[in-house]
């Protein structure tokens, strides 16, 4: 069961939403309905699932309906039709009390303009969710203090919101959402009001937090870079419709239509493409075999060094041809002549690879999570990728 399951959710704003709905069913577009009835279609027939522990990004330009869509998830906006299930419970069928309980214990939210209560101290702001659940004062202030500590704002408990910078205020917003300890976090353009450097920091911090907390996060943004950076999966919206859902790479490599294509054409590929995508097959030698074998492979392939792995294919280092020749004369083992070299992981981004490879004379070894050698990256591959020429899909080794 998915954590969040949205089926054909539609929201029509205006005097007669049912009429708008029937026009939608007849296939009229958002702008045709606007012209005909004056009603605004916020979200049209959106269906998607969000899995537990996933960061799901809903991305689109302003007016694409993304903010409306996220508000359907906790019914801050009533859907006109469709079902929205949280943990299998359809929230569109809930009465007011059940809905309140879900909002208190199941879903919390972070807002674009922070939405801190100006008359409450930082600590009281963070404790708000617990306060309305009537958690007793001592306990809720303790939990709030803990949440503040998590977002790095220990020591600001007694400050007022207007004394804090934008970045800090949004940390408070995040802490307020964390304090209720809900499984689901809705973040509505949470970092859009922050300046770019701080936005990057916050994105990194969110990813760090997420690696510890494993919340289910629905993140709204109009910034494609942000979406690609933090989204496990991304839904692209236009005119209230979801145009495409997929991983960052899916969307970049296989845009569903011209709209998506136009959208992603300016993307800085160096931030998206990973080592795993551009690596080529690596020749390696099992380190227990002698230096002569190593020399033989190197001369066959016309290379001057070779990566060494152990029996389980774990990467150990590199063996140079000269060392192998000396070792062969002196009857040493291959293991004694292995030189250390820093490998990169499969998900290292192209930007980082570029820096590493410019410092190194050797190809970069690429390892997986288990430390096994999966491939290597040579300098031309990095430059080609930067120029936009990617090797054809799935050239991965073994």
């Amino acid at each position: 069961m998915s954590k969040i399951e949205v089926k054909q959710a539609t929201k029509v704003f205006g005097k007669n939403p049912k009429l708008g709905l029937s026009y939608l069913k007849k296939g009229l577009t958002k702008s045709e309905i606007k012209k005909k009835t004056g009603m605004n279609v916020g979200v049209s027939n959106a269906s998607f699932q969000v899995e537990e522990g996933e960061i799901f990004v809903i991305m689109g330009l302003s007016g694409s309906g993304k903010s409306t869509l996220v508000r359907l998830l906790n019914r801050l906006i009533e859907p006109t039709s469709g079902t929205i299930a949280i943990d299998g419970q359809d929230i569109t069928l809930m009465n007011k009390k059940e809905l309140r309980d879900t909002r208190r214990r199941g879903i919390s939210m972070v807002f674009q303009r922070f939405a801190l209560f100006p008359h409450r101290s930082i600590l009281e702001n963070v404790a708000y969710g617990l306060e309305i659940q009537q958690v007793d004062k001592k306990e809720r202030l303790e939990k709030a203090a803990k949440a503040l500590e998590i977002v790095g704002l220990k020591g600001y408990e007694e400050s007022m919101p207007d004394q804090l910078s934008g970045g800090m205020q949004q940390r408070v917003g995040l802490a307020r959402a964390l304090a209720s300890d809900t499984d689901i976090l809705l973040m509505d353009e949470a970092f859009s009001a922050l300046d770019p450097l701080i936005r990057k920091d916050m994105q990194d911090e969110l990813l760090d937090l997420q690696s510890e907390m494993h919340k289910t996060i629905v993140f709204i943004t109009h910034d494609l870079d942000e979406a690609l950076r933090i989204g496990d999966r991304i839904a692209l919206m236009k005119d209230g419709r979801i145009v495409q859902i997929g991983s960052a790479e899916d969307i970049l490599m296989n845009p569903a239509n011209e709209y998506v294509e136009n959208f992603v054409e300016d993307v800085d590929m160096s931030k998206i493409i990973t080592a795993g995508r551009i690596m080529s097959r690596a020749e390696a030698i099992q380190v227990d075999r002698g230096p002569r074998v190593a020399l033989k492979i190197m001369s066959d392939d016309g290379i001057s060094s070779i990566f060494a792995v152990d029996k389980t294919k774990k990467f150990i280092g590199v063996i140079h041809a000269e060392d192998a020749a000396n070792a062969a004369k002196e009857e040493q083992s291959s293991r004694s002549i292995v030189k250390k070299v820093e490998p990169v992981t499969m998900d290292t981004r192209l930007t980082d690879l570029f820096e590493l490879i410019s410092k190194s004379t050797l190809p970069l070894p690429v390892i997986d999570d288990m430390g096994r050698l999966r491939g290597l990256i040579r300098r031309p591959a990095v430059i080609q990728a930067l120029a936009g020429n990617l090797p054809s899909q799935r050239s991965e080794v073994k």
């Binding site: 309140r100 909002r103 919390s108 008359h119 708000y128 309305i132």
Partner: protein, 278 residues
């Protein structure tokens, strides 16, 4: 009055009948209401007299210093001292009791109505013209039915004052509630607040400065009614002014008028919502 071709609509007659109807059927109710008001104002006056002038002045000087600083405190000291010195203390306390009672009742009735108007658009549309009527109808007009329903003396004065002074409290409360930023309302809802929690913890605290501006206006309007209230026999400084006008006594008129001004400035400064920064 000019006679037109159309027959005159007997609007005045209807108003008369309406008041007559109310008097006949609810006379008892209004009678006991009048007694209640009389007792409350009387109690306040007695209370002020028990305190005696000097401690009373000191308490207000202290409040003025605490809320606004030493300039207003000094003004309060000199102003109240002058009133005491001129011999208007007793009447000032009666006026004070009238204003306090009217404003308290204005808030007790006006705040809930204002909140309702703030959260409920149809109710706001219904009450807005009523508020316009209450504020623009010459205040003397209220006195006529007030006499029928409440007799003479303090109670009709208080009631006429309430009707005249309450609209700003209602209006500004409604405005304040509606001015609470949408994202704060959303935040409050998103965390699962009940409407009551939202009102108490978010809407009211955030609209408090606006509400206080309304209460401040109500206080000022209540003071402006004291002379009118004296027409139906409400005692106090208003009665002194009324007496001064009818007997052409410049001295009494000036002194009593000045006492009203002093009380007005004092209450205005004390009820203005400016937080003193340390």
């Amino acid at each position: 009055m000019n006679q037109t071709i159309l027959p005159k609509i007997p609007l005045g007659h209807w108003a008369d009948l309406f008041v007559q109807f109310i008097t006949d059927h609810f006379g008892m109710f209004f009678g006991s209401l009048a007694n209640g008001i009389e007792a409350f104002v009387g109690g306040l006056v007695t209370f002020f007299n028990i305190i005696t002038p000097i401690p009373f002045i000191l308490v207000f000087v202290f409040i003025a210093y605490w809320r606004r600083g030493w300039t207003i405190a000094l003004f309060t000291l000199l102003g109240l001292g002058l009133i005491y010195d001129l011999g208007y203390w007793q009447h000032t306390m009666q006026t004070f009791a009238l204003v306090v009672t009217s404003v308290l009742l204005s808030i007790i009735i006006g705040l809930p109505l204002g909140i309702l108007a703030g959260v409920n658009n149809p109710f706001r549309k219904f009450i807005t013209p009523l508020l316009d009527l209450m504020q623009t109808m010459p205040s003397f007009v209220y006195l006529i039915p007030a006499i029928f329903l409440f007799g003479t003396g303090m109670p009709p004065g208080v009631v006429a004052t309430i009707i005249f002074a309450m609209p700003p409290t209602i209006r500004m409360t409604s405005l304040g509630i509606r001015q609470v930023p949408e994202d704060l309302i959303e935040a409050s809802d998103a965390f699962g607040s009940t409407p009551w929690q939202k009102l108490i913890k978010v809407q009211l605290p955030i609209s408090m400065p606006t509400i206080m501006a309304g209460v401040n206006q109500s206080i000022m309007l209540a003071l402006s009614m004291v002379v009118v209230a004296s027409l139906v026999g409400a005692p106090g400084l208003g009665a002194d002014v009324y007496l001064a006008v009818t007997s052409l006594r410049t001295d009494i008129g000036f002194e009593a008028g000045l006492a009203i001004v002093i009380i007005a400035i004092m209450l205005d400064r004390l009820s203005q919502n400016t937080r003193r920064h340390k």
